[in-house]
């Protein structure tokens, strides 16, 4: 053996030490680092989440502890009584092979000394509970059930119209301050239109309001706008922010969620029809259980709405559809994000902090977090995962298949047939080929006939082809590729013929899908406290429960026992939780919701940290007012329109936004509500109002998301070739990675984070660029100019007057008129000058703010 060979042999030995079987010291092996790799290699071909042979899934700790059809496979500390050990020791498993001596030893040591959930762990948790959840902790303001306070009697009550005003005036009076007088009527009406409908008023609407000089004119307008479908859309948009709604899935290619819009429509309709909010929350958290939906069946007509509502639990970014890899932690992440987002939105607590450890500031224990997780585990069961994909992937998926019962089996057979799979594959191949060719051309590489054959071969050889169905086609279109390479036409023809044949078979079946949540089993896998949030380091097992600090110490909340309800198709866990959420005794939910309504109309909540009512959050600026509204809301049937009316009829809301230098210096954000703070409009309100002002707005409600496309400079915008570009913004496809540029510039959320309960109202130069150069504003200004020009028959003074009334609901001042006249006169084509000026009107601050 030469030196070099010896060296190689030595290095090889060293490398083997590092890379292969770990050396076993006298300690318990770790599940993740040592045990799992052995199971992965030798057992998981048959015992995995998809193919649980013998009912056993060894990809997770919970699966290992759960055992299979023959019962548990591990008896902690007792290898001789552990089926796992008995089977591998005798070489009965793995089938057709055997473990090495070292691997066997590892498993044996693990069973003998490994860390398993024990009674001591439970005891330790209880001890922590006693230490952290003290009577004092229960006394935190937001954990006490609100009591309706008496309305203060205010001296000098000139500005007090409603109880709300009394609470606010009292605080102001303490400083010797007062509210502002009522805003001017035009300002007030615009405020209502923006605040309730999210669209600027038309000239005619404003005229009608100004004509009505009765004392009830304002209240009548409030009522009228609350009944407008625009109100359902505008409030719906806010709730969709809170729910974290998106039309894309957030997976690798950020694929489109084909039927997400049904949940969006449910939300809009709920607000439009004034569904009581307690019912609204019950349906979203547990609609399936509310109507006792039987999974795998066609829903009865009266079940459809409640099932659609559970779309609330399907909004988080989901990367669990890549099934080629056993990364079970993705499932846990999706489960946990759903728990965190859905609950923090109504509880106003940062429960996510307790995923990895007890909450540092709030009395929320890690155990509490996992008790809540257990409530959801019957739906999002990491041991029994439902794929997100519709049609293109495995079936069943998390779509409710709403189809005549007699056609159901035939349809499922059809979509899961090998023929269907082949066609999906062909579909993928064609799309991938286009994309690949496009990329090659873009990179400047020659596409010789040989190279083209080679490329296609590469694509065909790739078993887990990732196809981005929304990829940009800006460089060269599919059509051009067809023309350039004749084989494309041939491939396409082949595919289309096969598709067409298949369509014939299937044409009479067109199911209605609902992306819903339901319990996949009445006996979900157990939930463990995950140490440091790591699913491979489970601690004590927990049962569904409430956070201790919110629970009744004397009589803890009891979740139902599904085995006692044979007629249930579910565990009843989420329904129980939802009923607790909307119970009179719940100290948080009504407060949090009422606060969000306040925030919606004032820009900030009475509690400014709208998602954090805990100890790190801000305390309410007007605690009595908050409690008054919360209790009143509960006492009056959780009636959102009633609550909104109360707020909007108050002097607090109706006062002007005047700048009082003294107050401004002491309280710049008007925390004390000494004025109605001006607000920069949200992205959607700006866009929708521009469409309305220019006469383009299509008020059609509901339905599938409007398509978007990539524009010439790469930005995403409305696709007028495939849809209507003039519908309200919330009907445009809302993508996590391809946001419509104009909306994105004005801080519309992309849901890159889980949800967004507060809009940024930033002032960025990119907004100015969008208003100067953006294709949307150019398109709108042209339509606006055409309309005004026609109406004014070329008289520029009339045109300017009309334009100001349309955009700002008021005539121009003399100076504004002069600026306009000058701008128009300086262009040779006055219509072009008018367009330029109208673009300026739409891009100026007067249009972007509500006062």
């Amino acid at each position: 053996m030469g030196f070099r060979q010896m060296l190689n042999a030595f290095l090889l030995f060293v490398a083997a030490l590092f890379a292969a079987t770990p050396l076993l010291a006298q300690r318990a092996p770790l599940f993740k680092d040592e045990v799992l790799p052995v199971l992965e290699k030798s057992c998981m071909k048959c015992h995995n989440p998809k193919q649980t042979m013998g009912g056993l899934d060894l990809s997770t700790f919970a699966g290992l502890m759960k055992g299979g059809a023959s019962g548990p496979v591990i008896a902690p500390g007792k290898p001789g009584r552990s089926l796992l050990w008995v089977m591998v020791e005798s070489d009965k498993m793995p089938m057709g092979g055997s473990l090495s001596a070292a691997q066997k030893q590892l498993l044996r040591t693990y069973i003998e000394q490994g860390r398993f959930p024990t009674a001591e762990m439970d005891a330790a948790q209880l001890a922590k509970e006693a230490a952290r959840i003290t009577p004092e902790a229960r006394q935190w303001w937001s954990f006490r059930v609100p009591v309706k306070p008496a309305v203060p009697a205010v001296k000098n009550a000139g500005t007090v119209r409603t109880p709300i005003d009394a609470f606010v005036a009292e605080k102001l009076a303490a400083k010797g301050w007062r509210m502002q007088p009522e805003a001017e009527r035009v300002t007030l009406a615009r405020r209502l239109y923006f605040g309730l409908t999210g669209v600027a008023p038309t000239s005619a609407e404003m005229q009608a309001f100004l004509k009505d000089t009765s004392p009830e004119a304002y209240a009548k307008l409030v009522d009228r706008l609350l009944e407008s479908p625009r109100y359902g859309e505008h409030w719906g948009r806010h709730w969709l922010d809170i729910a974290g709604y998106s039309d894309t899935r957030g997976d690798a290619g950020d694929s489109i969620r084909e039927v997400s819009w049904k949940y969006r429509d449910y939300v809009i309709q709920a607000f439009h029809k004034n569904k009581p909010i307690d019912r609204f929350l019950l349906e979203q958290f547990a609609g399936d259980q509310l109507v006792n939906y039987q999974p795998g069946t066609t829903p009865r007509p009266e079940q459809v709405e409640a099932l659609t509502a559970t779309g609330y639990l399907r909004t988080i970014a989901d990367i669990t559809d890549n099934q080629t890899i056993y990364e079970v932690d993705k499932y846990f992440d999706a489960l946990q994000k759903t728990v965190e987002t859905s609950l923090s939105s109504v509880l106003g607590l940062s429960i996510g902090c307790a995923r990895c450890h007890d909450h540092k500031f709030d009395p929320i224990l890690q155990k509490d977090y996992y008790k809540l997780t257990a409530v959801y585990q019957s739906t999002w069961d990491p041991e029994n995962w439902l794929a997100a994909n519709l049609g293109f992937g495995p079936w069943p998926s998390r779509m409710v298949l709403d189809i005549p019962a007699d056609k159901r089996d035939a349809w499922i057979k059809d979509v899961t047939s090998s023929d269907a799979k082949t066609i999906r594959r062909l579909d993928d191949l064609l799309e991938a080929t286009y994309q690949r060719f496009r990329a090659e051309l873009k990179a400047g590489r020659e596409l010789t006939p040989e190279r083209r054959v080679e490329l296609r071969k590469i694509i065909e050889d790739d078993p887990d082809l990732e196809v981005d169905r929304n990829a940009t086609k800006d460089f060269v279109s599919d059509k051009e590729l067809d023309a350039r390479y004749p084989e494309f036409a041939k491939w396409k023809e082949e595919l289309l013929t096969r598709r067409a044949n298949r369509r014939k078979k299937q044409s009479e079946i067109d199911p209605n899908f609902i992306e819903a949540a339901w319990d996949v089993s009445k006996t979900p896998s157990p939930t463990y406290i995950l140490q440091r949030g790591n699913y491979l380091a489970p601690g004590a097992e927990v049962q569904p429960g409430l956070p201790v600090v919110l629970d009744d110490a004397a009589k803890p909340f009891a979740f139902p026992k599904p085995e006692q309800h044979p007629d249930w198709h579910h565990t009843g866990r989420r329904l129980a939780l939802a009923k607790w959420l909307v119970a009179r005794e719940n100290p948080l939910v009504a407060r949090v919701f009422v606060n969000r309504v306040w925030q919606f109309h004032f820009g900030e909540g009475l509690v400014k940290s709208v998602d954090d009512f805990g100890m790190q959050g801000e305390k309410p600026s007007h605690p009595e007012l908050l409690d008054y509204l919360a209790v009143d809301f509960q006492e009056n049937g959780w009636d959102l329109k009633r609550l909104t009316r109360q707020i909007l009829l108050s002097q607090v809301y109706r006062q002007s936004s005047a700048e009082v230098a003294e107050y401004l210096a002491a309280d710049p954000s008007a925390k004390l509500l000494w004025r109605k703070p001006p607000l920069r409009l949200e992205a959607e309100t700006i866009r929708d109002s521009m469409l309305a002002v220019s006469g383009l707005l299509n008020e059609k409600m509901y339905g599938p998301h409007e398509p978007i496309k990539r524009g010439a400079d790469g930005q995403w915008l409305e696709d007028e070739s495939k849809g209507d570009p003039n519908r309200r913004s919330l009907y445009l496809t809302q993508s996590r990675t391809r946001p419509v540029a104009f909306l994105h510039a004005f801080d519309a959320p992309t849901m890159t984070a889980d949800n967004q309960t507060q809009r940024f109202r930033s002032a960025l130069p990119t907004q100015s660029l969008a208003l100067l150069n953006g294709p949307f504003v150019r398109r709108v200004s042209l339509a606006f100019a055409n309309q005004v020009w026609e109406q004014s028959k070329g008289d520029t003074a009339v045109a300017l007057h009309r334009a100001f009334v349309a955009a700002y609901s008021r005539p121009p001042t003399a100076r504004e008129l002069a600026i306009g006249q000058q701008a128009i006169a300086s262009e040779t084509d006055p219509k072009e000058g008018l367009r330029l000026f109208l673009q300026a009107i739409l891009g100026a601050n007067d249009f972007l703010y509500s006062y």
């Binding site: 083997a16 873009k442 071969k457 440091r532 790190q616 700048e659 969008a770």
Partner: protein
């Protein structure tokens, strides 16, 4: 890190008011709304690097075929590996495949670089390799999320956002964080600010002299004079309106933003105009070459951006095709290497010639590498993902030239344990070079002080620093 100026001060200097005012509850501490802007901020300690150019090669480049030759692979070529190679459960293969390409010993450091990278061979002395990278993620999206955000899931801010949040940027007429090119499978989330204020999101730019940023180009149907007039009219209308709200500082910032937008328009178009470069420079980057041109342009544009004061530039190298060489690696990798080789080498040479390399950090990495074994399920073989051991490199500001840190085993399979380097270590090191303490660069979000590194143990790789 808190900005040095109060909100009020920030707004009074409205000409610099390049920022977003967040609602106070997004930063629940502190009574007054905190201001978030891009103005330059002092680092925690003196910095070696002022700017970063991050050459991000998504898809899993085969670093054992590019930078990390393993002679032992030849011995086992076509034979089972002498120890277990873990692959994905689907396509585990134990059959070793030697690198199909020759390597040449290069430069004073004498490191062997694949002949697929003739230009990079000439600049290898300028870079420091980290040869013992490891990640705990085996599929593209989670590994990419990990590499840019520190977490294997969607929803967290990216490295460039954190850097802009901490340091701001030098040129207020350009974005502080620019993303060039395409090719991250996680799309724009690879440069998103997630829950950091939107002002820290990476702006997509293109090497297109006419339209490098959305809405930067004057519309075709509007003349320059008309645009001037539009700006002037908007300004007059805004002044009129401001007269009705004299104390409102947001309005002042918005008025200034129009001026700023006009300056950005000039500045961005100027930076994107590569024809302003000398022929020698254009040739260096190969911008007129067919294969290397597209990436060369991106690299040249990155230099121009950094030269103009942009803090962080991230270049995606996916536009040329697919680094995810599961099949036919022999056919594919040469083209991919040719696509990036010239541009990345030129960037180092050019930066050095201009004296910019000393305060510009250049980082090159993918989300993982590829296995030394064959992925033979396809007719033309390739290599599967390798998160256990791969190479990345850094050069410039404060990084030792010609240095190697760590190693993989003799097959190039797994990082030798005592040298293991993870994404968090790289994040700590990059921030350290910029004068940022990775534990202090935090943002209050959902009840906790979040950072890029989070709870992942991280250390600054002092060994590779000057």
């Amino acid at each position: 890190m808190k900005p040095f100026l109060s909100r009020r001060q920030a707004l009074q200097e409205a000409a610099l008011g390049f920022g977003g005012l967040a609602l106070s509850s997004l930063c629940a501490l502190g009574a007054e709304p905190q201001s978030f802007d891009l103005r330059p901020k002092r680092p925690h300690f003196p910095a070696k690097a002022k700017n970063v150019i991050f050459l991000y090669v998504g898809g899993g480049p085969s670093t054992i075929d590019m930078f990390d030759p393993k002679p032992l692979l030849r011995k086992y070529d076509g034979k089972p590996a002498p120890f277990e190679i873990k692959g994905r459960a689907l396509n585990g293969s134990q059959e070793v495949m030697a690198s199909p390409w020759e390597f040449t010993r290069c430069g004073k450091s004498g490191r062997e670089i694949s002949n697929l990278l003739p230009h990079f061979q000439k600049v290898v002395d300028k870079v420091s390799f980290v040869r013992s990278m490891q990640t705990d993620r085996i599929d593209h999206s989670t590994a990419q999320f990990t590499f840019v955000t520190g977490r294997g899931f969607t929803g967290f801010p990216t490295l460039g956002s954190w850097v802009n949040y901490a340091l701001g940027t030098e040129n207020q007429n350009l974005p502080g964080f620019v993303a060039l090119g395409e090719g991250a499978s996680i799309g724009s989330r690879a440069h998103s600010s997630a829950w950091l204020p939107p002002v820290y999101t990476g702006t997509s730019m293109r090497a297109d002299a006419k339209a490098p940023i959305y809405d930067i180009k004057r519309p075709d149907d509007m003349s320059g004079a008309q645009q001037q007039k539009l700006l002037s009219v908007v300004n007059q209308l805004n002044r009129e309106q401001k007269g009705r709200h004299p104390l409102d500082q947001d309005l002042e910032a918005r008025i200034a933003n129009y001026e700023l937008a006009a300056r950005m328009q000039l500045e961005a178009l100027r930076v994107a105009d590569l024809s302003a470069e000398s022929q020698a420079t254009r040739d260096l980057y190969g911008v007129d070459e067919k294969v290397s041109g597209p990436y060369g342009k991106l690299c040249l544009m990155a230099r121009r951006l950094v030269e103009s004061g942009v803090r962080f530039v991230q270049i995606y190298a996916g536009g040329g095709g697919n680094w995810d060489t599961h099949s036919n690696i022999v056919g594919q990798l040469p083209g991919l290497c040719q696509y990036v080789d010239r541009g990345m080498a030129a960037l180092l040479i050019d930066l050095e010639q201009r004296g910019m390399l000393q305060d510009t950090l250049v980082v090159w990495s993918g989300e993982f590498g590829r296995l030394p074994t064959i992925e033979a399920r396809n007719a033309a073989p390739g290599r599967d993902h390798n998160p256990y051991g791969f190479n990345m490199w850094m050069a410039g500001a404060g990084v030792k030239p010609g240095f190697d840190y760590g190693m993989t085993d003799e097959l190039g399979y797994a990082a030798v344990p005592e040298f293991r380097v993870g994404h968090a270590d790289i994040h700590a090191t990059i921030q350290h070079l910029l004068g940022i303490d990775h534990q202090k660069n935090t943002f209050f979000y959902e009840g906790r002080n979040e950072s890029l590194v989070g709870v992942t143990p991280a250390r600054v790789l002092n060994e590779i620093l000057l």
